[in-house]
C-alpha cells in the first residue's frame, strides 16, 4: 500500500459485487473497479490499452485477470499488463477497503 497517499472514499463495499466491474468518475479520471472471487479489489483506468480504445468496466473477470469487452484482450489487474500475444498496459491505482468504505488513491502503482 502507498503511504502518505491521498485516499479518496469512493463507495460502500456492497457497491462492488464479485466479478462485476463498476465505473467511477473521480477528479476527472474514469476508473474501473473489479472485485475478484477471492474478494480482492482492483482499480484500473477505464481506458482499453487497445489502439482503438474503449471501456474496460464491462470485462469478464477471471481470477485477477479481465478479458476486455471489446477485443477480448487478457489484462492482469495486478500490474495492468496486457497478456501475450497482445501488448500494452493499463494504468492501475491503489484501492483498499477499510471497514465498509472503499478507497482509492490516484497515485499510480
Amino acid at each position: 500500500m502507498i503511504k502518505n497517499a491521498e485516499w479518496l472514499v469512493v463507495g460502500h463495499s456492497k457497491d462492488f459485487p464479485i466479478r462485476i466491474g463498476r465505473t467511477i468518475h473521480i477528479k476527472g479520471v474514469e476508473i474501473a473497479v473489479f472485485r475478484t472471487s477471492e474478494n480482492e479489489l482492483y482499480a484500473v483506468e477505464n481506458i482499453n490499452p487497445h489502439p482503438k480504445r474503449g471501456p474496460l468496466t464491462e470485462a469478464i473477470v477471471s481470477g485477477h485477470y479481465i478479458y476486455d469487452p471489446l477485443y477480448d484482450w487478457k489484462i492482469d489487474l495486478q500490474t495492468g499488463i496486457v497478456q501475450e500475444p497482445d501488448h500494452g498496459q493499463v494504468k492501475t491505482f491503489a484501492v483498499c477497503e477499510e471497514g465498509e468504505e472503499v478507497k482509492i488513491s490516484l497515485e499510480t502503482v
Binding site: P17, I20, I26, G54, S62, D72, K74, G88
Partner: protein, 809 residues
C-alpha cells in the same frame, strides 16, 4: 582493470543492424557495443508499418527493442544521430554534428531510402515515400484532411500503402508503369487475379501510366502523365523502389556499386568494417526483404564470435503480400521461360491459381494466389531445388492421396539455424527448443514464446509443420484441443459430463473436470453457461458474470463504450404509435443515430450505459436481442396480405414465430426469414432457417448465412400446414441447441452434422421430432423478458448500469 572488450560500432539502428547485434549477444560478450541511428526512435519492425497505416497496430506496438533493452544489454545508443563517414585509417566514426567515436570493428547497416522519381514537383508538400515512421505518420495525418491519394508503384509496398489509405477513408488510385501488378514477383495470370481482388476492395488502378510531373501550388494537386492526361491527388506516395543508402560508404572510400560491395563474410573493402542489410550488394544482388538480412547477420555474428561459418551464399526470396483477404505468394523463378516445365492449376470459380516451375525436373519457382497453404513446402523445395516426384506432385496438385509424411519431412530436413520466421528472425532451433523446453502444443503458444508468426504470418504453415514434426504422434492428441486453452476436453465430453455427473454451475464444471485455470476464460465461461442452461433449463441459474457484456447488459456495446438499444419489431412490423414513442425516447436520451438494420429493426445507437434502464422503461417494448446468442429477428416480406404475388401470409407467420421463440438461448445468434412466395424478397436463403411460401404450403431451408462465411441454405423439407411448419422449425432449433458447439453457426453445424442426419431427426422420425418439440416447449416456459426483470430489480439496475459517485471529492 583495463577494458579488454573490443569496441563494435553499428551505423544504422534498423532491422538488420540490431538483429545482427542480437545474434552477436547470443554468441559472445566480448564486444562493447555502440549504436548510432539517424531516426529518433529505438529499433522497430519496419515491415509492420503497413499494419500501422492500415490501423491494426500502433507505432508503440511495433517497437522491437525499447530503450530499456539497450540499457540492459549495456549498449550505448545514439538516436537522431547521422553518421557522416568512417575514417578507416584511424578507426574512427565521424558524425555530422562532429562526434568522433573509436571502433575496433564497425558494422554498416544503413538500409535504404525510398526511391523518389526525379520529376518536376517531386519536392511539393504532400509527396512522400513509404519507408519509416515519419512517412507513415505523414500519411495518417494527411488522411484526416485530404480525400484523394495517388500511389505511384504497383509493387508490394505500393499496394500495401494503397490498402492502408483506403482503410483510412481515402479515394486511392495506384499508378503503375507496367502492364502487371507486382511484376517482379507474379506472372500475368496471378497479377490479373490480384488486381481484380484489390479493385473489389476499393483500390483504383491506372495501369501503364508514366508519371511525368507532379503539379500543384503550395501543395500537390495532382499528377500529369506522359500522354498528357492528369489525375487529381492531394497526397502522392512514391513506392517505385528503394535505393541502398550508401553515402557513408562512399564518403569513406568504400567499394560500392548499387550497394556496398561485400564478400561472403559480409566484409567491405575497408578492413574491419562489415555491412549488412539493404545497403549491401552481395554477389551482385541487393535484397529488399528481411529474411536475407537475418541470414547475413548470422554469418557476421558467427564470424565475429570466432565460430565456424561457411559464409553467406545468397538467399532465395519469397514474397507475401500483407493485405487482408488477399493471399499471394511467390518464390524463386516465376516467369515462364522456354526451358521451364510448367505445372499450372487455375480455378476461376474459387479464384485460386497455382503455378510450379521446373527446370530439368527440379523445382525452381512458384506462384500461388488465393490458396497459399502449400507455400511452406514449396518454399522449401525451391530453396533446395528438389526433384519433382509423384509424391510431391500429388501433395501439391491434390491428385492421389496427399501424403502426410512428406510434409513433415521438410521440417525434418530443415537446418537448425535456418530462419523460419523472417519477420522476427526466429530459427527452426529456437522453435524446436521452445516446444521441447516448455511443452508447447499450439502455434499460439509458440507465438507467445518466440514471436514467430507475430508479424506477416507467412511462416505459420512452416511453424505448424515443425510443431507436427517435433510432437510426432502426440501432435494428433494434443491437436485435439479442448474448447479453449483451460481444458483439453471437447464440447461433447463436457456436455456428457454435465449430464452424467449432474454438474450445476460453471465453477463446479471447472473444478470437477480439472480446468487448468480456476475461473476459466472468456471462451469457456460463456460456453459452459450456455451448456448448463440448455441441459437444465428449469433449474440452472444464469450467471451474468459469465456472459459477454452484450448479453449481460442486454444492449449492444459500441466501440466508444456507448450502447445500442434495439426494440423488438415482430416480423419487422411496427406501428405509428410505437414509432412515435421510439422517436420521443431517442430525442430525450440524445440517441446519436437511428439506423434501420438489415434484420428489419431500428438501432438506437449511442445510449449511455447509465441511461439504458430508463430508455427501456420508457420505451416499454421488449428487448430486440439484437446482440444475443438467441433468436434475433424474423425477416419477412409483404406476403399475401398486400403483395400481388404472395401466396402465404409471411408477415403473420413471421410474427408468430418471433413471438414464440424469442429469448431462448442458442449456441450462436439465430436468424429467420419468411417469404410469401418463391420470389424470396426476404432473402431466406441466407438465414439459419428460411421459410418460403408456395401454393400448397411452405418449404423450409436451413443453414444459410450471409455473414463471414456466406452459405446458401439447404432445402430441408416441404410442409403443408402452419402447425407442421412451427413444429419443424422448433425441432430444428432444439436439435441445434442440443448438438451445436458454442459459437458454431448453423451453416457450420449443418455441414458438420450432415443435412441427411438432420432430415432423419426432424422430418422422417416423427417421434423424435415430437420429443424435440416437447423439450423446446419446456425450455420456452422458463424464459422471461430481461428488461422487465432489470427494471424491477433495484440491485442489478444499480450494480450493472450505474456509475459510482464518490461520497467525498
Amino acid at each position: 582493470m583495463i577494458n579488454s572488450k573490443k569496441k563494435l560500432v553499428v551505423i544504422g539502428n534498423g532491422m538488420a543492424g540490431i538483429n545482427t547485434v542480437e545474434q552477436i549477444l547470443k554468441l559472445t560478450d566480448k564486444y562493447e557495443i555502440t549504436v548510432l541511428g539517424s531516426e529518433p526512435h529505438p529499433n522497430y519492425n519496419r515491415i509492420m508499418l503497413s499494419y500501422v497505416l492500415e490501423g491494426s497496430k500502433t507505432i508503440d506496438d511495433i517497437i522491437l527493442n525499447d530503450l530499456q533493452w539497450y540499457a540492459d544489454q549495456g549498449i550505448t545508443l545514439y538516436t537522431g544521430k547521422m553518421v557522416k563517414s568512417i575514417d578507416g585509417e584511424n578507426k574512427k566514426i565521424l558524425t555530422e554534428d562532429g562526434l568522433e567515436i573509436d571502433y575496433d570493428v564497425a558494422l554498416v547497416a544503413t538500409g535504404s531510402q525510398s526511391f523518389i522519381l526525379p520529376i518536376p514537383g517531386k519536392e511539393l508538400p504532400g509527396v512522400i515515400g513509404f519507408r519509416d515512421i515519419a512517412d507513415c505518420s505523414a500519411m495518417l495525418e494527411a488522411a484526416k484532411t485530404y480525400k484523394k491519394a495517388a500511389v505511384i508503384g504497383g509493387g508490394l509496398l505500393g499496394l500495401e500503402a494503397a490498402k492502408g489509405l483506403v482503410n483510412l477513408g481515402m479515394d486511392v488510385t495506384v499508378v503503375h508503369l507496367m502492364e502487371d501488378l507486382m511484376e517482379r514477383q507474379l506472372d500475368r495470370e496471378a497479377s490479373a487475379m490480384l488486381k481484380a481482388e484489390l479493385e473489389r476492395q476499393g483500390i483504383k488502378f491506372a495501369m501503364q501510366m508514366q508519371t511525368s510531373e507532379v503539379y500543384g501550388q503550395d501543395r500537390v494537386q495532382g499528377l500529369r502523365f506522359s500522354d498528357g492526361s492528369e489525375l487529381e491527388a492531394d497526397l502522392v506516395v512514391m513506392a517505385v523502389g528503394i535505393k541502398p543508402n550508401i553515402q557513408v560508404a562512399v564518403q569513406s572510400g568504400m567499394e560500392t556499386n548499387r550497394g556496398i560491395v561485400v564478400d561472403d563474410l559480409m566484409r567491405t573493402s575497408v578492413p574491419d568494417v562489415y555491412a549488412v542489410g539493404e545497403c549491401v550488394e552481395h554477389r551482385g544482388i541487393c535484397y529488399g526483404l528481411v529474411a536475407p538480412l537475418f541470414e547475413q547477420g548470422s554469418v557476421i555474428a558467427k564470424h565475429l564470435a570466432g565460430a565456424e561459418t561457411e559464409g553467406y551464399m545468397g538467399s532465395v526470396v519469397s514474397t507475401k503480400l500483407k493485405i487482408s483477404g488477399v493471399d499471394v505468394f511467390s518464390a524463386g523463378e516465376f516467369i515462364t521461360q522456354p526451358e521451364h516445365t510448367v505445372i499450372v492449376a487455375k480455378d476461376e470459380w474459387k479464384r485460386t491459381y497455382k503455378k510450379v516451375l521446373l527446370r530439368e525436373n527440379k523445382i525452381v519457382g512458384t506462384v500461388l494466389f488465393g490458396d497459399v497453404s502449400e507455400s511452406a513446402s514449396l518454399q522449401k523445395y525451391v530453396r533446395q531445388q528438389t526433384l519433382m516426384t509423384d509424391e510431391i506432385y500429388g501433395q501439391l496438385m491434390g491428385t492421389g492421396c496427399s501424403n502426410h509424411g512428406s510434409k513433415t519431412s521438410s521440417a525434418e530436413t530443415m537446418a537448425d539455424d535456418e530462419i523460419v520466421c523472417g519477420c522476427n528472425g526466429v530459427t527452426k532451433k529456437a522453435i524446436v527448443d521452445a516446444i521441447n523446453d516448455n511443452g508447447l502444443t499450439t502455434v499460439d503458444e509458440i507465438k507467445a514464446c518466440t514471436g514467430a508468426t507475430r508479424s506477416c504470418g507467412g511462416c505459420k504453415p512452416v511453424v505448424e509443420q515443425i510443431l507436427q514434426y517435433v510432437l510426432g504422434d502426440s501432435f494428433k492428441t494434443s491437436a485435439k484441443q479442448g474448447i479453449c486453452s483451460c481444458t483439453t476436453l471437447s464440447r461433447d465430453e463436457i456436455v456428457e459430463a454435465i449430464k452424467t455427473k449432474g454438474l450445476t454451475t460453471t465453477r463446479e464444471v471447472m473444478n470437477v473436470l480439472g480446468w487448468h485455470n480456476d475461473e476459466g476464460c472468456s471462451k469457456c465461461r460463456p460456453a459452459l453457461n450456455y451448456y448448463l442452461g440448455m441441459i437444465n433449463p428449469d433449474t440452472y441459474e444464469n450467471e451474468g458474470d459469465s456472459r459477454f457484456v452484450n448479453e449481460r447488459l442486454h444492449a449492444n456495446i459500441q466501440k466508444d463504450g456507448t450502447f445500442t438499444v434495439v426494440p423488438r419489431m415482430y416480423g419487422g412490423v411496427t406501428t405509428p404509435e410505437d414509432l412515435k414513442k421510439i422517436a420521443d425516447v431517442s430525442l430525450k436520451y440524445n440517441v446519436k443515430v437511428v439506423k434501420v438494420t438489415g434484420g428489419q429493426r431500428l438501432d438506437l445507437i449511442g445510449v449511455r450505459k447509465e441511461d439504458l434502464p430508463k430508455v427501456w422503461e420508457e420505451l416499454d417494448m421488449p428487448s430486440g436481442y439484437a446482440y444475443a446468442k438467441s433468436l434475433r429477428t424474423v425477416k419477412t416480406c409483404v406476403g399475401s396480405q398486400f403483395c400481388r404475388f404472395g401466396t402465404q401470409d409471411s408477415m403473420g407467420m413471421g410474427e408468430v414465430l418471433e413471438r414464440k421463440f424469442e429469448r431462448l438461448d442458442f449456441p450462436a445468434k439465430f436468424k429467420l426469414a419468411v417469404n410469401g412466395c418463391p420470389r424470396n424478397c426476404a432473402e431466406s436463403c441466407t438465414k439459419d432457417i428460411g421459410i418460403v411460401g408456395n401454393d400448397g404450403g411452405w418449404e423450409i431451408f436451413i443453414g444459410g448465412n450471409g455473414g463471414i462465411k456466406a452459405r446458401l441454405a439447404d432445402s430441408l423439407c416441404k410442409v403443408k400446414t402452419d402447425a407442421e411448419l412451427i413444429d419443424i422449425v422448433g425441432s430444428v432449433m432444439q436439435l441445434y441447441r442440443e448438438t451445436g458447439q458454442y459459437l458454431e453457426r448453423t451453416s457450420e453445424w449443418v455441414e458438420r452434422i450432415g443435412l441427411e442426419e438432420i432430415q432423419k431427426a426432424v422430418v422422417q422420425d416423427t417421434a423424435n421430432r415430437q420429443a424435440l418439440v416437447e423439450r423446446i416447449e419446456f425450455a420456452l416456459q422458463q424464459v422471461e423478458d430481461p428488461w422487465k426483470k432489470i427494471i424491477n430489480d433495484e440491485d442489478s439496475r444499480k450494480n450493472l448500469f450505474e456509475v459510482v459517485t464518490p461520497s467525498i471529492v
